[in-house]
């Protein structure tokens, strides 16, 4: 009887350090593979997952997805700015230390920062710790703070802002354990869409041909 109990205790003792190893790394979240995201003119699909880490134990990944105007799916807690692109992120913590802030670089216009949760048909986007403070510093950065931190194996809620501009690849910074890590690349609003000069030339040629043809038709009709 005593031997059985001792064996059970030994198994339990061994299981404690083994548990994290068996648990394995966190799987990427739903945003990383979300369907229906923005596809740009070069057929780039704007979703993904970017890892971050530093030598002090701050590590994990940031899942992200960008949605074209009017296509943000049915998550709860956020209403995008009408007619704007929607930038979404979710930070996951894998290392043994807590994460207390995520800042995303903003080189262009952005507004309406917030959080969201829910399952829009491709997986639950949620986390136990809501942000304690968030703000947009125009042409500077988007900020989310968790004063008590997001701990190991947890995720943030969905993090979001709107922008009139389509995305470009940029970067961000995560802080804690008295250390920081960069996350590269993550999407951030790019410059506004400006038609290329060749577009104007082509349009002018088309208009000229149309006018010439119209004049010919008119001229032959008169004769």
């Amino acid at each position: 009887m005593i031997r059985t109990r001792t064996s059970l205790l030994l198994v339990c003792a061994l299981a404690i350090p083994a548990a994290p190893a068996l648990a394995g790394p966190l799987p990427v979240g739903p945003l990383a593979t979300a369907p229906g995201v923005y596809v740009d003119g070069f057929a780039n699909v704007w979703h993904g997952s970017t890892p971050y880490s530093n030598p002090f134990g701050l590590s994990g990944f940031v899942d992200w997805a960008v949605w074209a105007p009017g296509t943000f799916p049915g998550f709860s807690g956020y209403s995008p700015t009408a007619g704007e692109y929607v930038y979404t992120y979710q930070a996951a913590v894998e290392g043994s230390v807590a994460l207390t802030s995520l800042f995303i670089t903003l080189d262009n216009a952005a507004d309406n920062i917030g959080e969201f949760t829910g399952d829009a048909g491709f997986g639950l986007v949620d986390g136990p710790t809501p942000a304690d403070f968030m703000q947009i510093l125009p042409l500077n950065e988007a900020e989310w703070y968790w004063f008590g931190g997001i701990v190991e194996d947890d995720r943030s809620k969905g993090l979001v802002f709107s922008s009139p501009n389509p995305p470009m690849l940029s970067d961000g910074t995560l802080i804690d354990h008295g250390s920081f890590a960069f996350v590269i690349p993550v999407p951030s609003p790019g410059g506004p869409i400006i038609p290329e000069p060749s577009t104007f030339v082509l349009a002018a040629c088309g208009a000229a041909l149309f006018v010439v043809r119209w004049l010919r038709v008119r001229h032959s009709g008169v004769c």
Binding site: I2, F56, S96, V97, A98, T100, S101, F103, I104, T105, D132, F133, Q135, L137, N140, E141, E143, Y145, F147, G148, G149, V151, S170, D171, G172, T173, I175, D176, H177, G178, S179, F180, F182, I184
Partner: protein, 226 residues
């Protein structure tokens, strides 16, 4: 000519000395602090794209139990530990012309502060004054081994501003560990600051206790069997 040159030089010297006074806070020369645990650490870093920089100087001082409230330089401030613990005090000075300062975060060794401690804050009443943080927190929150302490400045500290005296209490004396100053434009800078370390004696005592328990266990079982 000579007198006007002298005036200009004099004015320059006065302005230099004033700017020195503005930059150097009371912590670095505080007679009440532990003699070898007061000073300044420069922080300088960039964002990932190397397009912006954050620069700061963090003054620090560590006070032995009971000495913090004796600091005349800080106006005899209230000791949040009631004089029973070491007080770790810091003051952040923004430097440079680019990013503003949004946070100071200092690493903690697990066990360096009690898991349920809330003895962290800032003192707006010191003669030094300064920008108050919006939050002063041990991380993670709740009852858990603390891994860092952090003060957030929202809005970020701009211009030539400096922070309030920021502080926390610990039963243990100092060592140097990593700390990070966070700035706007996704900038951050890392350097070392004093932070408590659980004394080796504590670990030795704990190990000795565990060994004793282990050693006693078979004897008890034998006694029960007999």
């Amino acid at each position: 000519m000579a007198s006007s040159l002298g005036r200009i030089l004099g004015a320059a010297l006065v302005s230099m000395s004033l700017s020195t006074v503005a930059i150097a806070g009371p912590l670095t020369t505080d007679a009440a602090a532990l003699p070898s645990w007061k000073g300044s650490t420069p922080f300088s870093g960039t964002n990932a794209g190397l397009t912006h920089t954050v620069d700061a100087i963090v003054d620090f001082a560590v006070y032995a139990p009971g000495n913090f409230s004796l600091s005349a330089a800080l106006g005899n401030p209230t000791d949040i530990s009631g004089g029973t613990q070491y007080i770790y005090a810091y003051e952040v000075f923004r430097q440079g012309l680019d990013a503003d300062i949004s946070s100071l975060s200092i690493s903690l060794v697990p066990g360096a502060v009690p898991d349920n401690t809330t003895l962290v804050g800032h003192d707006p009443t010191t003669p030094e004054g300064g920008v108050a943080p919006i939050s002063s927190n041990f991380v993670p929150g709740g009852i858990a081994p603390k891994l860092n302490v952090r003060w957030n400045f929202i809005p970020a500290m701009a211009g030539s501003n400096h922070s309030d005296i920021l502080f926390f209490a610990s039963p243990f004396g100092p060592q140097m560990l990593q700390a990070t100053v966070g700035g706007t434009f996704t900038t951050a800078a890392m350097a070392s600051l004093p932070t408590p370390i659980p004394e080796p004696g504590t670990w030795v005592l704990m190990a000795a206790g565990l060994c004793s328990l282990f050693a006693l266990r078979p004897r008890r079982r034998r006694q029960i069997e007999n």
